[in-house]
Amino acid sequence: MDCFRPTLLCRGCMRKAHNSLPYHRIECWTGTCFRPGALWEVGLHLTVPHMSAMCEALKKHMDHVGSLESDHDRCDDIPRDPENTDSIDGTNRGTDRGTQSANLSDLHDNQEDDDESAGQEIPDYSKLDPAWEDDLAGSLHGPSNIPRMDAFRNPFVRIIHVNGIHHLPLITCNCQGSDKIPADLMFLGLVPTTFSQFWTLATCEVLDHIRYTNLDLKASTWQYHRLLRRQTQPLPVEGNINLYKELRRLSRQWRWMKKLKWAGYGHGTFLTEQRIHLTPDATSEQGTNITGGTELGRAGWSSDRMAPGPNAAFQDSADFVQGSQAPIYLGDPLKPQAGILANFCAACPQVGINLCPDWEKDPNQWVYTRFVVLDGNFKADHVRQRADDNDDIWLSNGGGMFANQEDYHEFIRTARQRRSVRHPVPHIHITLSAGLACTL
């Protein structure tokens, strides 16, 4: 269905064609109509190799799975009902039949699609057997009896992708430790909802899509979740998968991870590992940077970052490492340095960034004027939360555009204040009656 120029394929060919396209939706010819199918029905597995290479154990396991699935393919080709076998033309079968479902409980999969047999086979609804009912439901909703495990006890996982929710058995390998599996999954572009048990995974594409729809279409995660449900199953049925909570959490995490990546946090582990091999002098130099995030102002900022920390403004210019390509350890991602996840204007004249060192000698000093526009917005309010909802987790407190909450509250509490107006109340009345913002 998602393929360009889709052709009718048998079970094995469909599996082979989608080895590297596991998030395609397919359809299955039931003998009377196409019903929504799934790639697990043709025996597709999602294999998660290690980041470095495919290990021997995993290769062996895949061979087992492959041989079992080819056996299934052969079983699938043998018609089980002798009556139907007679009516089926061997040449027709390859072209007319669509993909076969793996659970071949119903006989009607092998029905031929010509007018004569269709005319004879008008279903008598009073005599429907359970398999037929399944088939009828399947023609609307797709396969409903998704198994929890395959024959090798590989768990079925839900995969959230831009075109809906998919189910596939997941083959993982524990030979490098089960704690490495999340990293292996991330390497494949799959983000697990939890890091211990992998029942639900989201692809990087869908998480990017959520963010883009939020930024450009102003769609909330709830709206995106409804879209996904509709794409997966147009008819709302009982037992419909509700992944709103998972999506909501993942969308936050994803946004945070992207920001960390852009700010250069990915190099942190790189440096700590490389640090051991550095010369003693270099180690001590780097060590000062590693001690704390706030020390980072000293190291300046690399050329791909737009906003250096606030302290950088008052650094001695000799401390700047301009255009430095060395990875900088940025400290704990949960306590980001102020403003490091944000970006700022590239065109404003900023000393140490886009001005030459002798800018003060320029006679046209007005060029270097900085304009600061201040304003308030009363649309971006926030309704009071319930008292028990106050266990928020602040992912990027003070790292982005918003102020660090603790610092901000402290500032507000201790701010010096002085009335600009001698008698404010009469003036407010005059202001109101005159319709002016200020009448002083």
Binding site: S303, A313, F344, L355, Q365, Q385, Y408, C438
Partner: protein, 204 residues
């Protein structure tokens, strides 16, 4: 009188922000919540963070443009004593839309039109940024506080990001008639591409 209101339903009644007046980029770390209307201390934080976070040198001239810049500037240096960099001075101005709501004296004294070496600047760039942000604010209204901050943060960052891409397209093919700033800006700021990356083609 929106600025004086207190709300029982809301624990945050709005946000205050600042942007660079010419290009309209939000300043990092400088969006602050309003707890009870738009108070001077909220805006003080916003201005202070703009100065600290965006590499403003004390030797640069700073023009602060605010809706009620006439009153706001009165005791600003007193309020931010010890927090601002030393020898920092401000020119206060009022945006060209809001100045007409003031007295006539404010117009002559604070309108950006009559400020020396100010160029043509409206000082109302944030209003257009709010228009875009207001589309997402209803979503953030009922989110948790942390999530709300992340949503608004992401939208502000994205606004800056798109602006940055746009500025690049605008500045480069300028028919040789470039602003004064460019010849003075250091060209060697951008590191050259390593030769190892230039050779070879691969697809993923």
């Amino acid at each position: 009188m929106q600025a004086m209101q207190n709300s029982k339903a809301c624990d945050r009644t709005g946000i205050g922000a600042c942007a660079c007046g010419r290009h309209g980029c939000f300043a990092p770390n400088a969006i602050g919540d309003f707890f009870k209307g738009e108070q001077q201390r909220n805006i003080d934080w916003v201005l202070l963070q703009h100065i600290l976070a965006t590499n403003i040198d004390p030797k640069q001239r700073v023009v602060s443009i605010y809706d009620i810049g006439c009153l706001y500037g009165l005791y600003l240096t007193w309020r931010l004593e010890g927090k601002l960099p030393p020898q920092m001075e401000f020119d206060h101005a009022i945006g060209l839309f809001h100045v007409h709501g003031h007295k006539d004296e404010c117009f002559w004294r604070f309108a950006t039109t009559f400020l020396v070496h100010c160029g043509i600047i409206s000082g109302e760039i944030l209003e257009s940024l709010w228009a875009e942000l207001n589309a997402i604010s209803p979503t953030a209204r009922t989110a948790t506080l942390a999530h709300r901050v992340e949503i608004l943060d992401d939208h502000a960052t994205d606004s800056n990001y798109r602006k940055m891409l746009g500025i690049g397209m605008f500045m480069l093919p300028y028919n040789g008639c470039r602003p004064t700033l460019i010849p003075l800006a250091s060209r060697d700021h951008y590191p050259p591409v390593p030769s190892s990356q230039k050779n070879g083609t691969a697809f993923r």
